[in-house]
């Protein structure tokens, strides 16, 4: 790892202005992505700006109509939070399947999202549940929908210096299921991951690791939402639409074909489970 300057700003504003001072500066949250890349020499930052001192929100808050998760909340906090487990269990499940406990004790949800891996485990549940992200450039804040946040592999809508401050999740009575398939049971990146969510008979289907970003499959959702009755045939047709929409690649974790087959079977199973149909 090359040497760099380490900065501990005490405000968001300070963090952003430090960031903007150079072209090769990086924010540090839990470091579980960043330090790995620096060690491999893929990133050679001039300045590392520690967000942990910058006054970003860190905890998990339950408000009347929404849940707020600070960007610095660790995956462990989310995994073990009793009301996340109760209200958004599929997010807790996703958080608990990311890396190992040693990783999760450090890794933040902000880092997982801003890193913008197509396989990021917290992305599909947040998109499915209709989360919004509060972004800040130190002066102004803006809100974007989770599903609009990701732009490509390692690319987001964040402007230079802008950071992810908080995640807002509407409280609702919807039900969702997260599924992750990896080569070993735990501590592995997803070959595919996905969340299917149902609220007031409306479905949301989000697939990860099968496109340049996590992907919401609206055509498939519509198929379900329009149907009078959900039966096995409809579920299978829906799964087919999902498979036709995704564009997975072949890599170390699996071939494109295998990913399609996994998605087809598992998306059908998740829908079936939510709809009470034996698949």
């Amino acid at each position: 790892m090359e040497n760099f300057e380490f900065i501990s700003p005490i405000t968001i504003k300070g963090a952003v202005s430090q960031y903007k001072k150079g072209a090769n500066n990086y924010y540090l949250a839990g470091g579980t992505d960043l330090i790995v890349l620096m060690r491999e020499g893929i990133l050679v930052p001039e300045k590392i700006i520690d967000l942990k001192t910058a006054g970003l929100p860190s905890g998990i808050k339950k408000l009347k109509t929404e849940i707020r998760i600070g960007a610095l909340a660790t995956l462990s906090e989310i995994e073990h939070s009793s009301f996340i487990r109760k209200e958004i269990p599929f997010l807790a499940e996703a958080a608990g399947k990311l890396g190992s406990p040693l990783t999760r004790n450090r890794a933040t949800i902000g880092g997982n999202l801003c890193n913008a891996s197509p396989a990021a485990d917290t992305a599909t549940p947040l998109i499915a549940v209709g989360a919004k992200f509060i972004l800040s450039d130190g002066k102004k804040e803006r809100r974007v929908k989770a599903e609009e946040f990701f732009k490509g592999v390692k690319q987001t809508v964040l402007k230079k210096g802008e950071l992810l401050k908080e995640i807002v999740i509407p409280r609702s009575a919807g039900k969702g299921i997260f599924y992750k398939k990896s080569r070993i049971k735990l501590v592995d990146l997803a070959t595919v991951n996905m969340t299917v969510y149902r609220e007031k008979k409306k479905y949301r289907i989000v697939i990860g690791a099968c496109h340049i970003t996590p992907l919401r499959i609206r055509a498939a959702e519509e198929k379900l939402n329009k149907a009078k009755k959900i039966d096995l045939a409809l579920i299978n047709e829906t799964a087919e639409i999902v498979v036709k929409t995704i564009k997975p690649i072949s890599d170390m974790r699996g071939s494109a074909e295998y990913r399609k087959q996994l998605v087809e079977t598992h998306v059908a199973r998740l829908i079936g489970e939510l709809a009470g149909v034996e698949v």
Binding site: M1, E2, N3, F4, E5, F6, L28, G31, T32, I35, V36, M38, R39, I48, D50, K52, S76, G99, S100, P101, L102, T103, N105, R106, K185, L186, V187
Partner: protein, 162 residues
Amino acid sequence: MSKDITLNVNGIDHHVNIQGNETLLKVLRDKLGLTAAKEGCGAGECGACAVIYNGSPASSCLILAVEAEGVEILTLEGITPKDHLHPIQQAFIDKGAVQCGFCTPGMIITTYSLLKSNPDPSEDEIKKAISGNLCRCTGYVQIIEAIREAARRLKRVKGRRK
């Protein structure tokens, strides 16, 4: 960048000069002589470098030493009592949970923290807790048995204190 910092390790403040790019693992091993934590991968994947950081176990190879200023850090050296072994350590010996020993410090750190938060873990909870600590020698079975045994012994110790 180089900087003088104070690291609180095993209850002792250490004043050290560090480089920005030095990991906590490197500073513990090279500058403080605390070599129980090992480098098995340097990339957060193996758990050999685990220490208790701010109350929970973490891979010290993915923590920068500069970040660690003001944080309480506990290593295997700090867990080991002065004149005997910790019940977890003894259980690891008694149950044959040690082979080459390279994963052992990290395993014991993770166990220590698990049993603090969950004194009576199920087998599945144990497996999940140590899933980030790779061991190539034992096949984990005797490690899991040792953790259960340690839990039993710690409960007994606690019971006696009451």
